[in-house]
């Protein structure tokens, strides 16, 4: 019995570690290619340690590609869209969790139903609306909607607010605190873990976004990092800049990895929460 146990443990470890290594291989390759000459990237057999190491890729890329501009645009979208999502979702999440008013449950049901709605169904009318008010080729279509709530995050926060004892609120109200004060001074600090989850998930979503930026941002001066990469991998410059493409890839992935390691616990809890909708 014991022998079988160690054997199955060994097999488990081999699958988890072996598979895990395969899963992480692309990261190493991304970094290694970002340090190669373009002619050394597509070679056989694959070369994992660059020879020679071209550190200058990380300097030259700034002359070849407007990295700062792309990074700034991506950052602006991510920052403001995340703020908007947090603000609108906290307000609505609290209202749906704690305040009773006529029509609340009906509105909430409609909101939850929209989770099933494929994005492409609303995509064209929203695009037409933004193009009519002249917002194409500005960052606004990627930021403003976030201030109008996102169903999934409202749901997440509502679930969390509901777990906070009502007595805490009642006590504050006896002391004469208004709703807004209760929300921001009592509820928000208590709900901090789930608010962090929403902030991280929303930031990642916006940082990684591709389809919407592609629709709205056709001019180079408003491009995000993802669009810059897309253009490079299509050889739109007419030159083989695969090594710069890889550097941009590293620039895009590093903030994501740092976020993961800083907020690992919250992030994993959040992912688990997203899968347990009951």
């Amino acid at each position: 019995m014991r022998k079988q146990n160690t054997l199955s443990k060994l097999a488990t470890t081999i699958v988890l570690a072996g598979g895990g290594l395969i899963m992480t291989l692309p990261f190493f390759w991304l970094i290694s290619s970002s340090l190669k000459a373009p002619s050394k990237i597509y070679v056989f057999p694959p070369q994992f340690i660059p020879n020679p190491i071209r550190w200058q890729n990380y300097v030259e890329v700034f002359n070849a590609v407007p990295v700062f501009l792309y990074a700034r645009n991506t950052f602006i979208i991510t920052f403001f869209a995340t703020i908007g999502t947090l603000l609108s979702s906290v307000l609505a999440g609290y209202a749906f969790a704690r305040l009773r008013f006529k029509g609340r449950d009906a509105i909430f049901s409609v909101l939850i139903a929209t989770l099933m709605l494929p994005f492409v169904v609303t995509m064209i009318p929203i695009y037409i609306m933004f193009s009519k008010i002249g917002w194409v080729n500005t960052l606004l279509p990627l930021i403003v909607p976030a201030f109008f709530g996102e169903a999934f995050f409202i749901f997440l926060l509502r679930q969390f607010f509901r777990t906070i004892p009502v007595e805490l609120e009642d006590a504050a109200r006896i002391d004469g605190a208004g709703r807004i004060r209760i929300l921001f001074q009592i509820m928000v600090p208590l709900a901090r873990p789930s608010i962090v989850v929403v902030a991280i998930l929303s930031a990642l979503e916006n940082w990684n976004a591709f389809m919407q930026p592609l629709m709205y941002l056709t001019k180079r001066n408003v491009w995000t990092l993802a669009l810059g990469m897309n253009s490079l991998q299509r050889f739109e410059t007419g030159r083989d800049w695969t090594h710069y493409l890889m550097v941009l890839g590293v620039f895009m992935v590093i903030p994501v990895i740092i976020t993961y390691f800083i907020a690992q616990r919250e992030l994993i809890e959040g992912i688990v929460m997203t899968g347990m909708k009951t």
Binding site: L16, A92, P118, M123, F210, M276
Partner: protein, 309 residues
């Protein structure tokens, strides 16, 4: 003094703040969900290129679609992908979660390794996989070539394009693993102990305890994966869409996913009515499938709270 929340009367103060706090969300629902859904339905009966006003087209968009060989192709590509991706992603994620639940050492490292790829931006992922799947230089064909096995032309052979996209998407299955892992770990240990007293084998325990106890989470993941699988866009666009919208999407349009073709119609050919008709058909199919899944779940999903409430 103990007031039950349900017995409280609706207060004017709660009603006031309720509406104030929910106002942005209601506006959002109208502006970005309900309004556009209706507008999209209306557009599907018109021809509209944004520049000139929409022209009534009756049901012609829908009847044209059925005869459009590219539309039929895109349906085929998408269904092909779905039938391959859904079973693979759910079983692999569940399997890995089962292994991770076995209290092996170094679990947090494995969790990181399996989960991190799901956070990688689509463009970066596509760029890396373009190399990994390269028939001549990629590491996936490397061992095959060493062994003298004919290596598949992942990104060039029309028959291998969909498996290639499936592989790329499988790289990001980490969140599914975490969700299944939490579900498996959430099964009360006493159930297993009781079964062990009865001498149940590992397989019996899995089949009679683990699987039913996690079936509601499996069901939920299934629904999410189905809805998501119909909407593949980024990978297909980045890897196969070519320089212009008149280029085929992959050799012989083998990567012409439904949403990619829809996007081309809207933003490449400016056929917004046609694209809206496509969007509505997708919407109907997704809704119908979700309803069917919810009906079928009664047969196989086990809810612990039933009766215990």
């Amino acid at each position: 003094m103990t007031k039950r929340p349900n017995s409280r009367r609706l207060s004017a103060e709660e009603t006031f703040w309720g509406w104030v706090l929910v106002t942005p969300t209601i506006l959002g629902l109208i502006l970005f969900k309900v309004g556009p859904v209706l507008a999209s339905l209306a557009l599907s009966f018109t021809d509209y290129d944004i520049i000139s006003p929409p022209k009534w087209a009756g049901t012609s968009n829908f009847t044209m679609l059925v005869r459009d060989k590219y539309w039929i192709k895109s349906v085929g590509v998408t269904l092909n992908y779905i039938f391959l991706f859904i079973p693979l992603s759910l079983t692999i994620a569940y399997g890995i979660a089962l292994l991770m639940s076995q209290n092996v050492r170094g679990i947090s490292i494995y969790r990181t390794m399996w989960y991190l790829p799901s956070l990688v931006p689509g463009v970066a992922s596509a760029v890396v996989w373009r190399w990994a799947l390269n028939p001549n230089f990629g590491p996936i064909n490397y061992p095959l070539k060493m062994m003298g096995v004919p290596a598949p032309g992942w990104l060039t052979d029309p028959n291998w394009i969909i498996p290639a996209v499936v592989l790329i998407q499988l790289w990001a299955l980490g969140s599914g693993v975490l969700i299944f892992l939490a579900a498996i770990k959430g099964v009360p240990i006493t159930y297993y102990e009781a079964a062990e007293v009865d001498g149940a084998s590992t397989l019996v325990k899995f089949w009679n305890i683990t699987l039913p106890m996690t079936s509601s989470v499996i069901f939920f993941q299934l629904v999410i994966t189905v809805i998501g699988s119909f909407q593949v866009f980024g990978v297909a666009y980045i890897l196969f869409s070519g320089q212009t919208t008149s280029d085929p999407a992959g050799p012989g349009n083998s990567a012409l996913f439904y949403v990619l073709y829809l996007y081309r119609n809207a933003f490449g050919y400016f056929k917004n009515g046609y694209a809206s008709a496509m969007a509505w058909i997708l919407f109907m199919v997704v809704m119908l499938l979700t309803l069917i899944l919810f009906q079928l779940q009664k047969k196989w999903v086990f809810y612990e709270t039933a009766g215990a409430d």
